[in-house]
Every structure is written in C-alpha cells, then in structure tokens.
Amino acid sequence: EDQVTQSPEALRLQEGESSSLNCSYTVSGLRGLFWYRQDPGKGPEFLFTLYSAGEEKEKERLKATLTKKESFLHITAPKPEDSATYLCAVRRKRGSTLGRLYFGRGTQLTVWP
C-alpha cells in the first residue's frame, strides 16, 4: 500500500504565480520527512528535512511545512528555473529497516515565463 502520496502529479504555473505541493503520509511513527528536487536525467537533490508537526524550513522561494498527516512545499513567486520534479519521502521511527526512505511518486512542476 502507498505510504506516501503526492499531489498533484503535475502542476503548471506562470512565472510569479505562487502555489503549494502536497505530500500526505500514512506511516505510524514518523522519523523525518524529506523533500528533494530532481531535474530531468539527474539524481535527486536534497532540499529539506522536517521532523515534527509545526516545523517549517525555508530556502529561497521554497518553504516546507509539516503537520501530523501531511507536508506542503510552498513555492512563492516561482521562476522558470524552479521547474523540476519534487519528491517527498518519509522515514519510520520503528521497524527493522530504520534507515530506509519511502518515496512518493513526485510532482512535476513546470513554470513558464
């Protein structure tokens, strides 16, 4: 079963049009939620880690927030260079495979001028 669901699958924004990407998760006992950016043909690039509900992290035009059920990646006044696939992943607090991440399928963001 899916433990991490990202929505929407694809998002097209005009430059400057702010929006949010959603990552909902169903793991019991969260030990970190991670956001990555991936450009076509390249490996994912780490953006943020969030550990507890209410936590927020910011980097340039990106801001990640966390609740007990989901995380949002807010993009403020995006530029074309923000176009990429954004991946969300979670880590469980308990279990035999503590180190592994469970990834969502990503949101493909396109920002047009």
Partner: protein, 112 residues
C-alpha cells in the same frame, strides 16, 4: 559538499551479460543505497548497506546482488541482465541512518 559518484552516466548492455554499477562516496558515510527509478513507479529500493560487508534487501532485490568491501564503495551487480532491468539506477549515501540521503547523478542502463 557531499559527493556521490557513479561509474557511468549511460550504459548499454546485451541480455545475459553481467553488469557492474559502481558507486563511490567521499564523505565517510556509513550507509549506502541502490534505487531504480522508472516512469510511473517512482524510486524503488533494491539493496542497502549499513556497514562494510553488510547488506539488506530492499523492495525489489530479485535479479540483483551487491558488494560493499570498502566503506566508500557500493557496487550493484546484475548477474544476467534482462530487458526489464532497463532503468535509471541511483546510488545514495547517508552519514547515519537518521540523516538525509545524498544521491549520485544516476546511471541510465539500457539492456538490449
């Protein structure tokens, strides 16, 4: 900066060939991971390693094996390549099990 390198960006092999994918990290990380990424399926974990000479199966280990003889190097082996192993292969590493993972650039493998 953490650097994870992979031996090839693009690789073309024939069905039945033995294929080696190499991954090296330069930050003394304890943990290393191999994923494959396919359209519509996302990232799937093949194998991971918490320490030298240790390995754990991920979600899709069938048809693959791994080797970690040195801390910085984690190899993925396709014993007998098949066309359904055509994919993007991504290596990652993390300092400790609760830290973020850093990814390499990926190897696009095509099996003909």
């Amino acid at each position: 900066d953490v650097k994870v390198t992979q031996s090839s960006r693009y690789l073309v092999k024939r069905t039945g060939e033995k294929v080696f994918l190499e991954c090296v990290q330069d930050m003394d990380h304890e943990n290393m991971f191999w994923y494959r990424q396919d359209p519509g399926l996302g990232l799937r974990l093949i194998y991971f390693s918490y320490d030298v000479k240790m390995k754990e199966k991920g979600d899709i280990p069938e048809g693959y094996s791994v080797s970690r003889e040195k801390k910085e190097r984690f190899s993925l082996i396709l014993e007998s390549a098949s066309t359904n192993q055509t994919s993007m292969y991504l290596c990652a590493s993390s300092r400790q099990i609760y830290n973020e993972q850093f990814f390499g650039p990926g190897t696009r493998l095509t099996v003909l």
